[in-house]
């Protein structure tokens, strides 16, 4: 089918290229820096007053190098890193030795994905809809008030919002838990879901509130342009009811760029959710990343980086492929 050939295949090619370049960059960059992670790890150990005689120190460095995959030239390291990475093996995690890094990541990924998708969808829908309506009825006072709220909320970084919410909703009015996810093991029982939601509210709330600000402002901006389009004026000239003009003419045509906007914003939202998880010690990728960083767990970090790149670019490609189903103009081409 021409559309498949013309639209799908180039997208897949860029998808693979992006992942490849991303992984290569995240592999090469740290190795370019003059510092050697092994020496760093050794220094950290010796900080706790541990004394090693020279040969055991030598042995330790050798085995650490092996564990960190720092053996041989950059190219050799790169090749066997790729060979192992394709099979999902990033070597063992140093902090939670000997559990393979991949297991830790695959355990944490679903939490992040659920938190991320839940809050992104909510903030996308709410932000766009209210932004669209506020954009259309620009002059009204409530529209201006909403705009001011969004302007204040939007630039606030995720973790600051997380801290503020944590302060207010767990300390001042303690109705939410300060950390952790659910104490029960995951099962599709009502009780588990209720407990899961109870714990996930604060982290997702901070993501939703900041996300809402971004979508509200960008949608209001797009709508203020769309409502000056000729087909909208013609809809009004034809005397169509305001509701039809707002929904079928203004918002429908303004949503299209917001879908591409979503795929561009995914990278940022992903990082944002990781920070929020760290602040709320929510057991997603962010929290695992925090522990891997504090313990200098190099392999785990590499695993997290690789999985995040794959997760984000897959979501972006998925959105790009869905786009023609929504925008008739692309579908026809």
């Amino acid at each position: 089918m021409r559309v498949i050939r013309e639209y799908v295949i180039p997208r897949i090619i860029t998808y693979v290229a992006v992942i490849f370049i991303g992984i290569t960059v995240s592999f090469v960059l740290p190795r370019l820096t003059p510092l050697d992670p092994v020496i760093l790890a050794i220094n950290r150990f010796s900080e706790y007053g541990q004394y090693y005689d020279p040969e055991s120190l030598e042995l330790m460095i050798e085995s650490m190098k092996e564990l960190y995959g720092l053996k041989g030239s950059l190219l050799e390291q790169y090749v066997n890193f790729l060979r192992r990475a394709i099979t999902g093996d990033f070597g063992p995690s140093l902090a939670y030795f000997p559990i393979p890094a991949t297991d830790l990541v695959s355990r944490a990924l679903p939490w992040t994905i659920s938190l991320l998708s839940l809050s992104t969808i909510v903030s996308w829908l709410v932000g766009n809809f209210i932004g669209g309506v506020a954009g259309y009825f620009g002059g009204r006072r409530w529209a201006k008030a909403l705009s001011v709220f969004a302007t204040v909320v939007y630039p606030t970084p995720y973790y600051i919002m997380a801290l503020l919410l944590m302060a207010v909703l767990t300390y001042v009015i303690p109705i939410f838990p300060t950390y952790g996810a659910t104490s029960l093991d995951p099962a599709f029982t009502l009780e588990f879901i209720a407990d899961y939601l109870y714990h996930a509210t604060l982290p997702s709330l901070s993501l939703v509130v900041v996300g809402y600000g971004w979508w509200f402002l960008s949608m209001r901006n797009i709508v203020s342009h769309t409502k000056q389009e000729e087909y909208v004026e013609y809809g009004q000239i034809m005397g169509l009811p305001k509701r039809t003009i707002l929904l079928k003419y203004v918002i429908r045509n303004s949503l299209l760029p917001q879908i591409t906007g979503l795929s561009v914003a995914l990278g940022g939202i992903f990082s944002g959710s990781m920070i929020t998880e760290a602040v709320f010690s929510y057991p997603g990728l962010g929290y695992v990343l925090l522990t891997s960083v504090t313990n200098g767990d190099f392999n785990l970090m590499m695993a997290i980086v690789t999985y995040s790149i794959i997760a984000v670019s897959s979501a972006t490609v998925l959105l790009d492929l869905l786009y023609p189903l929504i925008d008739p103009r692309i579908r026809y081409k």
Binding site: T14, A17, V18, I21, G22, V25, S26, L29, P30, T33, L35, P37, L40, T151, V152, Y154, P155, T156, P157, Y159, I160, L163, L164, M166, A167, Y171, V264, L266, G267, G268, F270, S271, M274, I275, A278, V279, G286, L289, L290, V293, T294, G296, M301, M302, I304, V305, S308, I309, V312, S313, T316
Partner: protein, 307 residues
């Protein structure tokens, strides 16, 4: 004096252009004053520990913003942190914008294979989730971390977006007729980019420079929460880090956590509104309308838009 009159009158119009702009200008000026002027009057080096009695709540006579559990005066520490965070923000914003801008110009003007390569690279960095990369990089350089190095790391991760924006601007400008007029008037490529395109690209660059400072400050604070920022150096991020480390919130030392968090929100809001105001003021359409109505006493040009 006359030469001064025009820019001053232009500044006056800018300041009164919108309530949003006036507020944001006041906020930004107060931030810069605090950070770069007031901080020099600190009686001692606020970053050193135990220079003030611990856990003092804010009081009007001695410690207006209170003190920390590690014996630091919150107010003076805050002024230091503002300066460092702003330096970091400016470096992160400018360097990233420069890299992205130049690559965008080259991609837009050259086209062909170079454009495809630059764009794919740029897109990778847009899609790349910044946080893990940032953390990976800073763990590597943890020891020698200073404001400029941190700025460069942030710049290295955020040059993706400007490439795309500048490229699309250059593409549309290249199609415009006045580019061909300039070419046939004998101006070379450099002259065209420098004097023909800058008035069109400037608004975006100015607004984006200001809003990118927010992004850079935000990234540093993120690093600090992970304990990766240069903890000795005083930045808004490190203040929050130590406050969290010593559970300032749970122990009721609200002023220790509130000062940096409040200041981050204040800075970010001020710069965001300023960037919005600058973008709106320099936006080609409104600027043209202003030039038109300023110069011509007659509003001839206004007639033409109305059939």
């Amino acid at each position: 004096m006359a030469a001064l009159r025009r820019p001053l009158s232009r500044l006056a119009v800018f300041l009164t252009h919108g309530i949003g702009i006036t507020i944001s200008v006041i906020m930004v000026i107060s931030i810069l004053l605090l950070g770069f002027v007031v901080s020099n009057f600190a009686p001692f080096d606020p970053r050193r520990w135990n220079t003030a009695p611990k856990d003092q709540p804010p009081s009007t006579d001695k410690f207006i913003f209170g003190t920390t559990s590690i014996g630091q005066d919150v107010f003076w520490l805050l002024t230091y942190s503002i300066r460092n965070s702003i330096i970091l923000g400016v470096v992160g914003s400018v360097v990233g914008l420069a890299i992205g801008g130049v690559l965008g110009l080259v991609a837009g003007y050259k086209g062909g294979m170079t454009e495809k390569i630059i764009l794919t690279l740029g897109d990778t960095f847009i899609v790349l989730p910044g946080l893990p990369m940032l953390i990976l990089l800073s763990t590597m350089v943890k020891k020698q971390l200073n404001m400029f190095l941190l700025g460069f790391i942030i710049a290295a991760l955020t040059w993706g977006m400007p490439v795309r924006n500048v490229r699309s601007m250059v593409l549309s400008l290249r199609e415009r007729e006045f580019t061909h007029t300039a070419v046939f008037s004998g101006f070379n490529t450099l002259n065209i980019i420098a004097s023909e395109y800058t008035p069109h690209i400037l608004p975006w660059v100015a607004a984006s420079f200001i809003s990118r400072i927010n992004m850079a400050i935000g990234m540093e604070v993120t690093l600090a929460i992970f304990g990766l920022s240069s903890l000795a150096e005083g930045t808004l991020g490190t203040m929050i880090y130590w406050a969290l480390q010593y559970n300032a919130m749970l122990r009721g030392l609200w002023w220790w956590i509130f000062a940096p968090v409040g200041m981050v929100v204040f800075i970010v809001l001020g710069f965001y509104m300023l960037s919005g105001g600058v973008a709106e003021y320099l936006n080609p359409r409104t600027r043209l309308y202003r030039i038109a109505t300023e110069e011509t006493k007659e509003i001839e040009s206004v007639d033409r838009s109305i059939e």
